[in-house]
Symmetry: C2
Subunit: 254 residues, 2 copies
Amino acid sequence: MVKSDKERNKGMDKVSKFHEIFLEIESAILNQTYKSGELLPSENELTKQYNVSRETIRKALTLLLENGYIQKKQGKGSIVLDVKRFNFPISGLTSYKELQDSQNIGSQTILIENKITLIPKHIAEFLKVSETTKVHTVIRARKLNDEVVILDKDYLLTSVIEEIPDEEAENSLYYYIEHKLGLKIGYARKEFTVEPVTEEDRRLMSLHGDHHIVVTRSDVHLEDTRLFQYTESRHRLDKFRFVDFARRRGPQTY
Amino acid sequence: MVKSDKERNKGMDKVSKFHEIFLEIESAILNQTYKSGELLPSENELTKQYNVSRETIRKALTLLLENGYIQKKQGKGSIVLDVKRFNFPISGLTSYKELQDSQNIGSQTILIENKITLIPKHIAEFLKVSETTKVHTVIRARKLNDEVVILDKDYLLTSVIEEIPDEEAENSLYYYIEHKLGLKIGYARKEFTVEPVTEEDRRLMSLHGDHHIVVTRSDVHLEDTRLFQYTESRHRLDKFRFVDFARRRGPQTY
DNA sequence: TAGTGGTCTAGACCACTTG
DNA sequence: AAGTGGTCTAGACCACTAA
C-alpha cells in the first residue's frame, strides 16, 4: 500500500511544497545542473515543471535568494551565483559538530565539565535572568591535530533541558536537543569580539604565547521564544574564520 | 492638486504596500508602541487595519521576522522580541559611515589615498578577474579619539564606477554610489579572520604593540550581479565588535 | 471550538528587459 | 511586443494553541 505524504512524513521537519522545491533546486545548483552565471528556468516554466502555482515557486526562489544561491533581476530572470567558493555556510545558526561533519575535518572533542550549577552572576546579568537560575555547565575543548584550538562553554537552563548525558555532550548538543528531546531551536543573537586571554584559556588551550583570543557569545532561543542556552566559544586567533553572506536591505535613510 | 503615489515616489526606493507596512510596524516596535514580549495584532486584524490582503500582511511580517523584530508561533501569534539590547544592526551590508551616523560616535575619516591603479595581483586572483583590471584604490583611516583604529582599503572597478571625488571618499562611498550614481548595491560575501599585523598597519594605525589585527574582506556586487568592489577593513583588536542575528534554518541533515 | 499562523491557488496588473 | 520578475488579491484548507 502506498503511504500518503502525511504518513510518510510523520515527525519530519518541513513538508511544504515550496521547501521541497527549494531543496531540489539547491541540489541542482550544488550539482552544477544549473551552473553559475546561467539563468534558472523562468517562474512560469517552473510552475509547469512542478505543477504548482507561481507564488509557491516564488517562495522557493526566495529561500534560494536569501541563502545566496541566486540573484533575481526583474525582466531578466534568476541568475545562479557562484556558490562553490563559499560552500560551507558558517553563517546562520550552526553548531561546531555540524561544521565538522560538513567539512570533514579530523578533530576531537574533549568533555571537560558537565554539571549542574547556579548560573554565573555575569551571565545572569547579561541574560536578565534571576541569579538563582540553575544551568547545566558544559565545557568542551575542541582539538585539531592534537592542539586545543577552541574552548566552548555552554550554559543550558535546567528548566528547559532536564538532563544532559555525557555521551551527548561529547557528540552534539544541538543534535541531542533537536532530535532526542524534540525541541525546536529558533534564533540567536551572536556577538564577536577579541579579548585578552584568561588564565583558564592558558590552562585549557594550546596557545602559543598569544595574548588575545576571539570570543563569540550568543543567547539561543527556542521557536517559542524561550531562552534556553548561553554560549561562549573561544577560538585561537589563527583558527578563527567566519564567513557571511549579506544582502543589502535597501539604501539606508541618511 | 494631489499627487498620485507614483508621482510622489518618483525615484524612491521601495513603494510596495508590504514594505510600507513593515516600516510602520518596525517604527511601532522601536517606539515601544508594541512592547517586547507582547503579541502583535493578528494577521486578520492587521488585514483590516491596513485594508490589504492577508498575504501582503504576511510579507511585511516576514521582513520583521528576518530582521529579528518578531518571532511567529502557529496558533499563538507574533511575539515582539527584545530589540533594544542590540539596537544597532552591524550585520547585513552596512558601511562605516552609516554605522557612525546611527551610533553617533565622534569620529573622523582621513583619506590617505584615492587613485586609479591596476588591481593588485592577489586581489585579481581572489576575485577571478583579469590582472589588467583598473580600479580606484581608496585607502581611509578611521579615527576615534585621535587614534586610528580602523584602516579601510577599497578597490572599486573603474568599469562600473568612473570617478570618485575626494570629497565623496571622505564622506561615504555607499552614499555616493547609491544616491549620486544611482547604482543599486545587491549583496556581498564577507570573511572575518585575525592576522598578524603588517608593516603598513604599524605605519598607518595607532597600534599599541599589538601583534594581530582583525581583517574583514568582502566582494560586493550590484543588484544585477556585477562585481564592483573589493574591500579589506582592518580593525584594531580592542575596537572590533560584530553583532549578528541568526535564525535556525531547520535541523541540519546529519 | 474559535482563533491563530502556515500553505497553496488562480488570476490580475505592473515594471523591466530584450528583440 | 513578448517574456520576465514584482506585487496584490480573495478565498480555501490545514496545523497548532488555548479556553
